[in-house]
Amino acid sequence: MTPAALLVRREIATALRARWFAAYAAIFLLSGLLLAAVGGGDALIAGYRGFARAFAGLVHLALLFVPLMALLPATAAIADERESGALEYLLAQPVTATEVYLGKWVGLAAALGLALTVGFGAAGAVAVARGVPPGLLAVLFGQVVLLALVFVAIGLGLSALTTSRARATTVAVVVWLGLVALGTLGILIAFIRWGAPAWALTVWTFVNPIEAFRLGVVSALDPDLSLLGPAGARIVDRVGPYGTNALAALSLALWALVPGLAGLAVFSRPK
């Protein structure tokens, strides 16, 4: 094994041995199963199934918890070892800082991906048994994984940029709150009170990874975005249903790379 591969394996093993991994997998498993089982997607009326509430529930579950669960171990990744002194020891070995950082990144992503697969795989089985199209589930699962990667990148970036774990965690929670609720509420207030232009709402929806994820999920379920009113109609009119999905995925992909790369740039800077 090359040093880089060894580092990745070490990070995966560390993540999997941590209690958070088992806890997250269990939480995903239980909540996913519960939603799939009782989520209202069970009844068949006139040949149609009700996904709406079940998926609104799933979207919320994913939006609230997946980011948090990705953020917390990611913010700890570097800051923790820096505080305990393990990082200095590791960097004294014949590996580059870039290799150490990338090892952590890949390891965390892989571990989180496994936890999500355990949880949503079982929920997916229940959902498929209840008639949800497997292709749709695959698209949704892909978006959930992408969302997790976004917050791994944000957490890891913060971990590299800050000096202590406490600070990294604090900043991460603030970022999470801002993206999940406060930012959107701010935009809502700006629109209602100060007449912010409607396009700003749309831009925010694509720029904020949480909202981009929601847009992708809604678009997968309802390609003409009729749920989203005139703004949804304009989006589909401009870029089409595939364009909507592609833009949302692009936004997520950028978020999954840029913060992590920023952290890498700082971390691998010669000291």
């Binding site: 394996r9 149609y48 003409d224």
Partner: protein, 445 residues
């Protein structure tokens, strides 16, 4: 009385059209026919545009096709005939000339049944003909963008007609305008713009129809005494998607209909419009719509009794915000009702109340609907629960919500073994991989 009838029947001749028949073309047979005659058209393709001016029975044997060659109207009818079993194919495409499969004018008592229409602009166009029967036809429009298509069936100023058991697909609308006393029963209209486009008509009945995947299922305007019973309105999506809509209409009775998976299930605009008149919505199932019932703010005097509202993202919304309490909501089933029934009489002990701050905002500001099912709007609702200061006015209050949905749902359909195996495999596989990867350098180390 029997004698002249028998005499007429005896005198009625049967004229045959076809390669081996007495006539080569339908046009020639029609020219020769006397009132009461029967014309039988043998299998074959007839490229002509006949005009029917004598009251005859025109029967197509299987495989008898009138082909318009993509020009003009296929058959003009100006007498009360019976037309049965013919296929009408490839009409012209000009909206200005209203090219149709059959265009009937002043043909009271006309019967059109068991016919098939393919690639026609308009299918059956009836003008000023009363007591017409249109039964068991299949109409498929041209493969044009919806704005360039014609209407599958159009009843124009034609009273007391019956439209039954037709299957209409890929047309613009099914139109009934200025026509009273029509019965529309057992039809399927799909993949079109308006499944039913209905104006200025009284005393009409709609039963057992299915309106599927149209832009709008049925829209009723400026009409009185309309009954909808046992109809299915499904999958009307898009920004303007509505299962069933009413504008300026009085005396509506809608019973036992199913409105499912539409952008808006039922929409009401200024209906009822006359003081003292009430509309009744009873025992309908409103399920899986983005919005179950959408009301304009001024709408009042509608009675919603015994309906089941199931898993709509928003059960009731008032455009522009505000309350729908000027209508009666009583004894409905609400799948999101969170009350209880201690005395077990099947009726919830506390009223069902729908008031959501986020939904109030979304109703007031159309643009904010962009944030439907966003965690931010959910946070807002939590906030309004914690801080009653922010609690909005109730959109509706049902004083006696029932706890059991009145209509039994069909059981879930069979499973899909491959998908399930795959999903279970994912879980087990990922779990096993995680277990192994925990020990990166092997037991021996």
């Amino acid at each position: 009385m029997i004698a002249p009838l028998a005499l007429a029947l005896l005198q009625a001749a049967v004229l045959t059209v076809g390669p081996t028949g007495a006539f080569r073309t339908v046009t020639a047979a029609l020219a020769a026919a006397a009132p009461g005659d029967t014309i039988r058209v043998a299998a074959g393709v007839y490229r002509e545009h006949p005009v029917l001016t004598t009251p005859v029975v025109l029967i197509g044997e299987p495989g008898a096709i009138l082909d318009g060659g993509l020009a003009g109207t296929l058959l003009r009818v100006e007498a009360p005939a019976t037309i049965r079993g013919l296929t009408f194919r490839r009409s012209g495409r000009l909206q200005a000339e209203e090219h149709a499969g059959i265009l009937a004018e002043r043909a009271d008592g006309l019967v059109i049944e068991d016919c098939r229409f393919e690639e026609v602009l308009f299918g059956i166009y009836i003008k000023e003909s009363h007591g017409v029967i249109i039964r068991h036809n299949e109409i498929i429009g041209k493969d044009f963008p919806v704005a360039l298509r014609g209407d599958g069936i159009r009843l124009w100023s034609s009273h007391d007609g019956r439209v039954e058991d037709n299957h209409v697909a890929r047309v613009r609308d099914l139109v009934i305008w200025f026509s009273n006393g029509t019965v529309v029963r057992g039809n399927v209209v799909r993949d079109s713009r308006y499944g039913l486009h209905f104006m200025y008509s009284r005393d009409n009945r709609f039963e057992d129809n299915a309106f599927l995947a149209n832009h709008v299922g049925a829209f009723i305007m400026y009409s009185q005494n309309i009954t909808f019973r046992n109809n299915l309105f499904a999958a009307a999506r898009g920004t303007t998607g509505r299962g069933l809509g009413f504008k300026d209409s009085d005396g509506i009775t809608a019973e036992r209909n199913v409105l499912v998976k539409n952008a808006v299930g039922l929409s009401l605009d200024n209906s009822p419009t006359t003081a003292g008149v009430r509309n009744a919505f009873r025992d309908n199932l409103v399920a899986y719509n983005d919005v179950g019932v959408l009301l304009l703010p001024s709408v009042h005097s509608n009675d919603f009794v015994g309906n089941a509202f199931r898993d709509n993202l928003v059960p009731v919304r008032v455009t522009g915000g505000g309350t729908a309490q000027r209508n009666q909501w009583k004894g409905n089933y609400w799948s999101d009702y969170a009350g209880f029934d201690e005395n077990r009489d099947g009726v919830g002990d506390t009223p069902y109340r729908y008031d959501r701050l986020s939904d109030d905002l979304l109703a007031r500001h159309d643009e904010l609907r962009l944030f439907a099912v966003s965690p931010a709007t959910t946070a807002l609702d939590l906030l309004s629960r914690v801080l009653p200061l922010l609690a909005p006015e109730a959109i509706i209050v049902d004083s006696a919500p029932v706890l059991q949905a009145p209509r039994a749902d069909a059981p879930p359909r069979g499973s899909r073994p491959v998908g399930i195996l795959l999903a279970v495999g994912l879980t087990v596989g990922a779990g096993a991989a995680a277990w192994r990867l925990r020990r990166p350098f092997g037991r021996a180390a």
